[in-house]
């Protein structure tokens, strides 16, 4: 039962290590370094990186920006709740607001065009989960995050909330349409 006893040698740290362990440690270390450098490499050559651009913002200010955008670019309304649908021009700043329990407004975007998507919650934490592409971003109240997004496929997309936000969390949906 020697893992339960003090080491056999008083100077156990001076006992040489076996060849098998050294080889395994070397292999594992190389793999660890590969995994580490994959991340900065993806920043250089990959197309999916979370940017660091973010601003502190109050709910009132953010709501105002959202309303201003809706006024300018609204194209229609959807569902009985008359949720506005916004079709912003290419490359525009798009403001999406998360609140209990809705993503507001809905968006109509174009394929292969890059937009500056702003995300913020005006109450609790929410989770921006774009389906079926499966892009998942944490939405934290008080912080306006800016993502440069480029839809690469046309279709209808749903935003699910995947951060628990109270009793109607499971009913919190939003829509994005991507057109050719």
């Amino acid at each position: 039962m020697t893992s339960l006893l003090p080491p056999a040698q008083k100077n156990w740290w001076a006992v040489p290590v076996g060849r098998q362990e050294i080889i395994w440690i070397a292999i594992a270390l190389v793999w660890c370094l590969i995994m580490f450098f994959m991340m900065p490499l993806w920043h250089m050559y990959g197309n999916q990186n979370i940017p660091t651009e973010a601003y502190k913002v109050t709910p009132a200010k953010y709501q105002a920006k959202v309303n201003e955008m809706i006024e300018k670019y609204k194209v229609r309304e959807e569902t009985a709740m008359k949720i506005p649908v916004v079709a912003p021009p290419d490359g525009a700043d798009v403001y999406l607001l998360a609140r209990l329990w809705q993503w507001y407004p809905m968006l109509e975007l174009k394929k292969d065009v890059t937009y500056r998507l702003h995300l913020n919650s005006i109450d609790w934490n929410h989770g921006f989960s774009l389906q079926p592409v499966n892009i998942n971003i944490q939405v934290v109240p008080g912080y306006e995050m800016v993502l440069n997004i480029t839809p690469n496929k046309a279709g209808e997309y749903t935003i699910v909330c995947n951060e628990y936000c109270g009793i109607m969390h499971h009913a919190m949906l939003g829509k994005i349409w991507v057109k050719e």
Binding site: T2, P6, A28, Q48, I50, N136
Partner: protein, 578 residues
Amino acid sequence: MAQFRQCPDTGLFFHKEAENLMKANAVAGVVCLLIGGILALLVVLTRWPAIHLLPADSFYMVLTAHGVCALIFWMIFFEMAILYFAGSTLLRSRLATPRWAWAGFVMMVIGAVMTLAAIFGGKSSVMMTSYVPMRAEPHFYLGLVIFAVGALIGCFVYLGTLVVAKNEKTYEGSVPLVTFGATVACIIAIFTIASGAEILIPTYLWSIGYISHIDPAMYRLIWWAMGHSSQQINVAAHVAVWYLIAGVIFGARPMSEKVSRAAYLLYIFFLQLASAHHLLTDPGLSVEWKLFNTSYAMYLAVLASMIHGLTVPGAIEVAQRKKGLTNGAFEWLRKAPWGNPVFSSMFISLVGFGFLGGISGVVMGTEQISIIIHNTIYVPGHFHATVVIGTTMAWMGLTYLLIPVLFRRKMIFPQAAKMQPYIFALGMSMVAVFHMAAGTLGVARRHWDMGFAGNPLGFEYPATAYLLMGIAGVGGVIGVIGGALFCIIAVGSLVFGEKLQKEAGLLQSFGVPLADSAYTNEKPARLPMAPAEAVEADHGESGFEAPGTFILAMVLLVSFVIYYFINWKYLSEVWGIS
């Protein structure tokens, strides 16, 4: 005068006070596991789309309670028992300040009851993470704080015991590896609890109105310094339990004390950085911060786990080969005592933690890959592999070991006990794997209705996702059956098991010491160093001591590499984000 008894079967010495504390903590832990398991069944049956058992409000309440009970209370109570075992029993030392340890235990019980009362009151369904500004009732936070302070006292009692053992020279040389590992767990626990205090005390003050605002991003950052680190206590402690069980069952000696201890040292330095895993898609954190922290500074804690993953089975292999099981690469493994639940629980814990929990954890903790996994049900899939198959199964194996040793009872239902680890592992592996698979299809975690019934916007996950969640549901039920079997065997043995020592009665199972006649005032003989062994001839092929283990390790590595790059491939197909 400190009183000790010696276990006639294992030769371990138990200090009377420490023994009571171990029993009390272990029993409290199993009670929490039992509650957590019942809640798990309700969660599973609700997320199984075809059954969808609970209404939404009860589901979120039950899910909150399940997380707190299973992930915090069961783990930490049991860890206290392990600390007292590693400090007092393994070092043959009296426990330092047992009264303080009892005070800590009582606080933990009070805290646990208080928090659970808040949750079942129905107004604190905030999930274990309780992200502000969502508000729970004040005693939800207060209970957690009291529980944590109790656990902190236990940590200091353990450290005090190390000092006592050193001063009273109860052992020769350095502390045993298992005690070393427990000390690492203790250090990580202190960091964890300090972080918890730093965020939960202000949140408590906020909930009663003394603080007006808590920054939600800061909350997440500091909360996870507790939330993730508490799982790192489990890692450090369950690796120590692996070494312990390997030592007890096989007489295995560590392949190299230096390597194993150095790996533990890496845990102390780097493991807690992993709190960043939860913040990879949060606003405002710099790339450098994320890269350094999410990778545990270039994956040095992953390196440590990969080392333990080789040295634990390697030690077993060397011990088995010494007994003559030298045919081929795997005779040592084939002829291992698979019918002994102590061993099978431990070995499944090791393999499951590495292949399911470890690989998925590192992959999802990669900065960019988090985008396709964050907050999907992949995450619960991953951590049920680490904390249930990994930690809980290690604890179960240890419990099977301790029923005769600590409680002096014979285990009831030995045939059922033989099967239990396999049933539990099968169920929980299904939960882990199929939740992970459903997560890759985008299914959200902590979500009552994946069908979005009646929603005017309407959305349907692919049909496969429903199938996967259904299979995960079946797995969950099997897992709960396995868990229930464990609770029945463990508790049943304490109550109805045949006494191995006539002094052991019913009350002894619940903390009351054995009759005084079993103890003596005699100080145990000093714990000797492990016997030095002559340099052995190579047992395996090509100069490798443990060739079978090396093959297994390479299988792990290849799976790891393939799975890692598959996920980069998936990531590359989603919308551009920059």
